[in-house]
């Protein structure tokens, strides 16, 4: 039930702090989201949305850093290919 989805702020209707809303896009679908909890959020920011409320602005630099870190793991693990492919006869689980 704690499902949260990142979406991009497309527009903001500047009402007061309690009722501040924004249109947020989720890869082709947009909906009205409360921005009351992210007063610092601007158009173009990605926000994490849960039950119609933005709970946090996604830190794009941090996301990039994490992916780079994972990329290093990928390089490291490439050396020993047997470690990457598990013994289980797994098709691609994704």
């Amino acid at each position: 039930m704690c499902l949260g989805v990142p979406g991009c702020i497309e527009s903001i209707s500047e009402e007061d702090s309690l009722t501040r809303m924004g249109k947020v896009g989720f890869g082709g679908i947009s909906c009205e989201v409360s921005l009351a909890y992210v007063p610092e959020a601007r158009v173009g920011d990605y926000v994490l949305v849960h039950v119609g409320f933005a709970l946090q602005v996604v830190d794009q630099n941090e996301a990039q850093r994490i992916l780079e870190e994972i990329g290093k793991i990928e390089d490291l693990m490439q050396d020993d290919n047997s470690m990457i492919r598990p013994s289980l006869p797994l098709e691609n689980p994704l």
Partner: protein, 307 residues
């Protein structure tokens, strides 16, 4: 970047799984707290990529499943009264009470409506001034700010026909209960990323220290979960027990102060019965006395007995 697909890359999933296998030298048992993480583990088959000795135990999961029978009965009882509209998140409708669930109560004529957001319940209250509109407010700390905001908006607008049946639960007391339960096997935790998005990570520092268990704040995509497991195993293998933040693109150490302020304003900490587990002190959030007027429990009375 849209922060979803990039964290589901199959090649990188296999690399992270390989890293976990290379890190693991002995058996370990780790619990992922949130049902959303469990969903990702099962959906993407992540458990099949882990070394045999590494066991994932699914945690107290989801505030829906641990909602006590008496609260389901109360919601059904309220919804079945004349001139009442009960608004609820969809996943609550099939959770059984003592006799029936909300879905069958709806089939018998109770006006029960599924909403995506508590703001939808507020709209329903505005549109039906002659009816009592009750919102069934369930959730971990993740959902409490949204539910709490509906009361603040109702109070400001003077929406006297709006009230909330709150049955929120808090994660840290549940973790302590798990760690103090007899024969517990849990050696490390993947903390619920979206609970920590709201609450931050400070609440977990004393737990990690007191019980000497690593706690890794973890997201929900496959790469998040595997990175969280890798960090947990790394700490276990090195004998460390720290709180670390894998989901740092969303979780700040202080959480969301605006959201926390509304939780502190609208709710108060209460004991809560977790279905199938038991009652823990301080493990729930009830509506504070300041907003008693918007508490459906005081507005509609105690409700039917549980048997």
């Amino acid at each position: 970047m849209r922060f979803v697909d990039e964290f589901r890359d199959p090649e990188r999933v296999h690399s992270c799984a390989a890293e976990i296998r290379s890190l693991t030298t002995q058996p370990w048992t780790i619990m992922e707290i949130c049902g959303g993480q469990t969903h990702s583990i099962v959906r993407y088959g992540l458990d099949q990529l882990l070394p045999d000795g590494l066991t994932l135990v699914h945690g107290p999961g989801c505030p829906v499943c641990v909602t006590p029978v008496e609260m389901i009965n109360k919601a059904i009882d309220i919804a079945s009264q004349p001139d009442v509209i009960l608004c609820s998140y969809g996943d609550m409708l099939r959770v059984p009470g003592s006799g029936r669930d909300l879905l069958s109560a709806k089939a018998l004529g109770a006006d029960i409506r599924i909403v995506y957001s508590p703001l939808d319940a507020i709209k329903t209250a505005r549109a039906n001034p002659g009816k009592q509109v009750v919102f069934f407010a369930v959730g971990f700390e993740t959902t409490a700010p949204a539910n709490g905001m509906s009361i603040l908006q109702a109070a400001r607008e003077g929406l006297g026909n709006y009230s909330m049946l709150a049955t929120h639960v808090r994660v840290p007391p549940a973790m302590r209960a798990i760690l103090t339960s007899q024969g517990t096997r849990i050696q490390g935790f993947l903390a619920a990323g979206h609970v920590c998005t709201v609450m931050g990570i400070d609440e977990y520092l004393p737990i990690a220290k007191e019980f000497h268990v690593p706690i890794v704040v973890t997201g929900f995509e496959p790469l998040d979960v595997l990175q969280g497991i890798a960090e947990c195993v790394r700490q276990l293998e090195q004998g460390r027990a720290e709180v670390s933040n894998q989901y740092s693109r969303v979780v700040r150490s202080e959480g969301n102060p605006h959201a926390r302020r509304v939780i502190e304003e609208v709710f108060e900490i209460v004991p809560r019965n977790w279905r199938g587990i038991g009652t823990f002190p301080e493990s729930g959030l009830g509506i504070s006395s300041k907003y008693r007027d918007y508490d459906a429990e005081s507005r509609f009375g105690p409700g039917p007995p549980t048997s």
